[in-house]
């Protein structure tokens, strides 16, 4: 029987796969790697893809996660420049940027990432203490500057930790940093509460007095306005009447033609209007036309 070609293909494939595994390695897009030759780092790989290497034990590949790691440091106490105790905690986003530098420092530990974070924690503590000591409390909390000083503080801490990393050539990079907690020591919180309580009291009292005073003002204002309105109306009414009298006076000229008759008619009118309702009149015999009773009429009859 002749040798089966399929067998040959399979054998070749197996050898290929074996060689492939022995002489190549992949770096995923989320990783960086470093190739060591007899234990010393010789080739950093920061781009993902397929790579060739000499088989173990000559060369060995170490890969590290290149993605941004979230790390939050401990709450540490620092003294501000105006002597307030302030507890701060920051978070950083950091990643492995240079595997050649990172490898010798951390590859020995079981978990390189957490080993690096232990170091970061320590340095962050130092950087924070230094930066907090340069600023007064009003740079952290302030109603006036729109938080510019707060951002500046974060930037200073970031620069501090970055220069520390550069000096030590750790092969990692801090991408961003922010303050995550800003608190006061437990003993101080009591005095803050006391101050807040008295502030609340002042505020409540102020609201009460302000309200009463303002209400008083509104009321007296209203009284004043009402009086003004009435006074204005009164003066306007007087003016109107005056105009009316002036207009009426024009007609008075007519009466000048015979003042006696005018006065007689005025008196007649006055008499009539004054006796219009519910009045009692008492006459004697002198008053015309009742003088008739006295005999005027009889006189006339006698004639």
């Amino acid at each position: 029987m002749k040798r089966n070609p399929l067998t040959l293909i399979i054998a070749l494939l197996l050898i290929l796969i074996f060689g492939f595994l022995l002489f190549s390695f992949q770096v995923r897009t989320t990783d960086v790697a470093v190739v060591t030759t007899f234990g010393s780092p010789t080739r950093p790989i920061t781009e993902p893809g397929l790579y060739v290497k000499a088989p173990w034990p000559i060369q060995k590949v170490w890969t590290f996660d290149r993605r941004v790691q979230n790390f939050e440091d401990r709450l540490t106490e620092g003294l501000t420049s105006d002597s307030f105790n302030l507890l701060t905690s920051v978070y950083v986003g950091w990643r492995v940027s240079d595997p050649t530098a990172f490898f010798p420092r951390f590859a020995g530990s079981a978990n390189p990432i957490s080993a690096a974070e232990t170091l970061l924690d320590q340095w962050l503590g130092n950087a924070k203490t230094a930066v907090v000591g340069k600023h007064p409390l009003s740079d952290f909390v302030s109603t006036s500057d729109n938080g510019a000083a707060f951002v500046a503080i974060e930037k200073e801490i970031l620069e501090g930790i970055q220069s520390q990393i550069r000096t030590n050539n750790l092969g990692l990079q801090v991408e961003f940093l922010g303050i995550k907690r800003l608190q006061l020591p437990e003993s101080v919180s009591q005095s803050v509460f006391d101050r807040m309580t008295s502030e609340r009291k002042v505020l409540a009292d102020r609201f009460q007095y302000e309200g009463e005073a303002e209400a008083q003002r509104i009321r007296s204002d209203a009284e004043r306005k009402a009086a003004e309105l009435l006074a204005n109306a009164e003066s306007q009414a007087t003016r109107i009447k005056g105009i009316g009298e002036a207009e009426a006076a024009k007609s008075l000229a007519v009466f000048q033609r015979n003042p006696d008759l005018a006065s007689f008619i005025f008196r007649l009118n006055a008499l009539e209007s004054s006796l219009k309702e519910r009045s009692v009149l008492i006459f004697d015999q002198q008053t015309p036309p009742f003088d008739l009773f006295r005999g005027a009429s009889t006189n006339l009859l006698k004639k």
Binding site: N70, G93, I179, R200
Partner: protein, 365 residues
Amino acid sequence: MNDHPHSPDGMPDPGLPPETPMDAGSQALAEALRSSFAIVKVVMVLLVLLFLASGFFTVGPQERAIILRFGRAQGEGEKALLLPGLHWSFPYPIDESIRVSISGLQQVRSSVGWYAVTPEQELSGAEPPAGATLNPIAEGYALTGDANIIHTKATLTYRIKDPVRYVFSFVNASNAVQNALDNALLRAASRFRVDDVLTRDIAGFQEVVRRQVTQSAERQDLGILVEQCAVQSVPPRQLKDAFANVLKAEVMRSKVLNEARGSENQVTNKASADAESRINLAQSDRARLVSDVGAQAERFQEILPQYQDHPALFVQQRLTETLGRVLTNVQDKIFLSDSANGKPKELRLLLNREVPKPVTEEKKP
């Protein structure tokens, strides 16, 4: 397997000539081997097929997929994303397909500024008992711009805008978003007054938190789109009453002010109505006066010629006519005749207030 017909040594075994047919046993063995070899071949082909078929995968409606060939993402940016449907890639270790959920809304909560609660307390809405002080390790809070302590928490709803960045650039992207939210909350609180955060400008505070977390997400290139940000703030449990009293005083103040404004309206409205009627009265007085006098003047002109003709008679006539009219209107009329001695009589009146009718009594002096 059978021996090769031409052995390298070239010396055939004398006991077993090569041409000699195999005995029955070895023949059966060869047969069995041949058939099992065929099965192996089929199985191997099947395995290869299966291997290749394992490269099929589906992408769901709320997903996108990315293929990594030898660890490197295929395509750049948007093109790297495979849309929903059936796809094929080489199986591992050549290709690797990674599915990314872009589904709807993701949510993170920030509780770094909130007091310590157990999950049961949070569910029931109960508050843990308050101590006199706040332990900064256990209890979270934020400092406001006027150095007050408040508790504040936020919930951020966001969408994944750049799945490649979100998945491949962060170990835990949602954690990074949460950190950004914590930071934004703290920073926003540090520039607001306590009253603004708690009552006066809740929406403004929330807006600042939202803006800052959006900015942070852009600066840190988290690949997300902020949809919504809800913030809740309360005063410290220790000072609940003090804060409630201020609120009460504020409510009281607005009540007092409203009452005052109400009475202001009433007083001024009444005054302006009074003023109006005063003026109207004056107007009508004026009109009446003018027309009265006018009418009288007119009448005077009419009667003047009559008077001039017979003055005495005219006067007499007018007087009598008027008296007659007046007397018909008068309610009570009392006539006193002259006394015999020619002296005037004395008259006494008893006036009763209730009854306007006078009672008269005559007495002879």
